[in-house]
């Protein structure tokens, strides 16, 4: 549903206009074009450009200086999830001995590496692996497996967890790492480092993240001009094309369209009665079903901690001190920050976006994101009186998701909202 990259199996029914949803965003076709091109060109990148596989929270601005063609396994995992290929590709990894309790993005990526299965046609084999443990520790071991399998270098950007306040010594430690990466990046890419180019990419990256923040902020309007389910899809450029002009240009036109919808009062959910906040990664294989289900109940997701993660720390980015500022931007992200921070962030979002209810996805794959959710739910319900429901699922592996159990939970949540 994210991209019609390759027609598989039985033909999809064309999506008919839904009576509960507003008109679809015009920008979606442009997004599809950009992302299709991104994956399509990657097939021909081998030999022409150095190729890196990058984790979602890695400081990619530095790679841009060396003209790396970047592929994001997490974005590819989301794509597989949306195309409902999660279980099939996960099983390829399980066949090689990887346990089903391992993150499903990791299993999809490893399963793809072993079998070549992907809805994107073909992904280019990387020359370099680049990750940061600011999102989880699994990423390091997962990329180590790939590094071992393909015998290619792996660069880790190690970000100390922020328990209270970031220390100067931590910033120095991280900035030093970034500088130390340069010789390896030069060697793998065959290109020279340029401080000036780094500054340029930082500026573009900063602009696109800021625009993404403005895109999300349009959802403060009542009724909101898009839903978070749309935002999950329109997130792709900021994840995969961050630092490139195409991402910035895309968010300029998306922002314009959304501002226009706000002016004209065009609602994403026709009868927006309740406004909800989503916590954790999207459940990619349920995106379409749920966007209809919630709309039927007059509920619109207008905010998510997940989509916000690509805006949250961007104000630290500063081309005048690239390494120190990147250290802050990448180490203070939600998953590398303490739970008190997360609680305060959610509290603020509930106020800013006039939230009536929380839907908390307890993601079987993503332990760092799912920890503390029951406590946060209780504290937010006590303090702010918001209704909350926890649903147990996975971002891509539908085998650990139970449709009936979840439906009952969600319907009881709707009943509780309606009885308010």
């Amino acid at each position: 549903m994210l991209l019609g990259l390759q027609k598989r199996g039985k033909k999809r029914k064309p999506s008919r206009p839904n009576p509960f949803l507003g008109p679809p965003l015009k920008c979606t076709s442009r997004l599809r074009e950009i992302m299709t091109k991104h994956y399509f060109l990657s097939r021909y990148a081998k030999g022409a450009m150095p190729i890196a596989w990058v984790s979602s929270g890695a400081p990619v601005e530095l790679l841009r200086v060396f003209d790396f063609y970047t592929v994001y396994p997490e974005n590819h995992g989301a794509l597989c999830g949306a195309q409902k290929m999660g279980p099939e590709i996960c099983q390829e990894a399980e066949r090689h001995g990887y346990h089903s309790d391992l993150c499903s993005y990791a299993r999809i990526d490893l399963g793809h590496a072993f079998s070549g299965k992907t809805p994107a046609g073909k992904l280019p084999r990387p020359d370099l692996l680049f990750c940061s443990n600011n999102i989880c520790q699994t990423i390091l071991y997962w990329f180590k497996e790939l590094s071992h399998y393909w015998r290619i270098p792996l660069i880790l950007f190690d970000t100390p967890y922020n328990f209270e306040d970031i220390r100067d010594s931590d910033i120095q430690y991280m900035a030093d790492q970034l500088e130390e990466m340069i010789p390896t990046l030069e060697k793998v890419s065959g290109r020279k480092f340029s401080q000036k180019r780094l500054e340029q990419f930082i500026e573009i990256g900063k602009d696109s993240s800021r625009l993404w923040g403005e895109v999300l902020a349009t959802l403060k309007a009542r009724p909101a001009p898009m839903t978070i389910f749309d935002a999950f899809v329109h997130l792709a450029p900021i994840v995969s094309l961050r630092g490139l002009p195409v991402a910035k240009e895309y968010y300029e036109i998306l922002l314009e369209e959304l501002q226009d919808r706000v002016r004209k009062g065009i609602a994403a959910v026709k009868n927006e009665k309740r406004r909800l906040l989503w916590d954790n990664i999207a459940v990619w294989f349920k995106l379409r079903d749920w966007s209809i289900l919630f709309a039927e109940h007059g509920c619109n997701f207008v905010a998510a901690t997940y989509t916000n993660a690509w805006v949250e720390t961007i104000h630290y980015l500063d081309a005048r001190s690239p390494f120190e500022s990147m250290a802050k931007v990448y180490s203070l992200v939600i998953l590398n920050n303490n739970l008190k921070h997360r609680l305060n962030l959610m509290r603020q979002m509930i106020k800013d976006y006039q939230i009536d209810g929380l839907v908390i996805h307890s993601d079987r794959s993503c332990k760092p994101y799912s920890v503390g959710q029951y406590d946060m739910r209780r504290l937010l319900a006590e303090d702010l009186g918001v209704k909350a429901v926890v649903i147990e699922a996975d971002m891509t592996d539908s085998r650990v998701y139970s449709e009936e159990q979840t439906r009952t939970r969600l319907e009881a949540f709707f009943e509780a909202l309606e009885n308010e």
Partner: protein, 260 residues
């Protein structure tokens, strides 16, 4: 009598289907219980016909019907569908107005519901994607012993000590039980161990919504006296159990039908 309005609730669960008919003064006029089997539509039709004949009225006298339970979407004659969470809260509150917490252990899931004034749902928790801690768990175990669920409950009351059952998985717990039987451990002690395992599991879930006095137990498992006794031990005082605990979801549905 002849101008009396009636309302009905249908609770189509994974194991059994119940229908409750109430009159406009909220008196229960009739109820029926059928096995759901593989055809929830047929089971709900049969339960409805049965309840109607007990009540001595025809279908057209029922003003509104609400369906609940897992099969609620397949009840063809329902006017509205409401989750069993709201229905159990409404039913338990009607029978025991001091209810603060409902523990419902049904065939396929277990729920803990925090009930507020008027039987409103304030919060709830449900078991995750696993049958441990549900009626199905006890059913599997009962068939391992060749006992009925009621017999299992009675037997556990005679136990001297609970055999620890370490596995939380129904399938693995069954193999654990088989190995305990092979070791000639007293049946009643093994059964008490199983009941303790299920109660501990539900109790842990209850902590997430908090235990609010008084506690009412609903669902078929509430007929098991051994399980009820263990819950009473946890709470430290008697808990409410209606004589037919499995019809409370259907009763709640009928009550909600009368309100809307």
């Amino acid at each position: 009598m002849s101008d009396m309005d009636y309302f009905a609730g249908v609770d189509t669960g994974s194991l059994s289907t119940e229908v409750v008919i109430i009159d406009q003064d909220l008196n229960m006029v009739a109820y029926s219980i059928e096995q759901t089997g593989s055809d929830p539509i047929a089971a709900s039709e049969a339960a409805m016909d049965n309840a109607l004949s007990k009540a001595g009225i025809t279908r057209d006298r029922i003003k509104k019907i609400i369906a609940t339970g897992y099969g609620r979407i397949s009840v063809p004659f329902a006017d509205k569908k409401i989750t069993e969470i709201s229905c159990h809260a409404a039913g338990a509150y009607h029978l025991f107005p001091d209810t603060g917490t409902v523990v419902d252990i049904g065939g396929q899931d277990s729920k803990v519901i925090h009930v507020g004034p008027g039987g409103k749902v304030l919060d709830f928790a449900m078991n995750d994607k696993c049958a441990a801690g549900t009626g199905r768990f006890l059913e599997v175990m009962a068939s391992t012993f060749g006992l009925s669920l009621d017999e299992m409950g009675e037997l556990s009351l005679k136990a001297k000590e609970a055999m620890p059952i370490s596995s939380v998985c129904t399938v693995f717990a069954e193999s654990e039980v088989i190995s305990l039987i092979a070791q000639n451990k007293p049946r009643e002690n093994i059964i008490l161990g199983l009941h303790t395992a299920i109660v501990n599991r539900v109790w842990n879930m209850a902590q997430t919504v908090g235990i609010h006095p008084e506690l009412t137990m609903t669902g078929g498992v509430a007929k098991n006296r051994g399980v009820v006794a263990l819950f009473e031990k946890k709470v430290g005082r008697p808990i409410h159990v209606y004589k037919e605990p499995q019809i409370i979801g259907a009763l709640g549905a009928a009550l909600l039908a009368s309100r809307s």
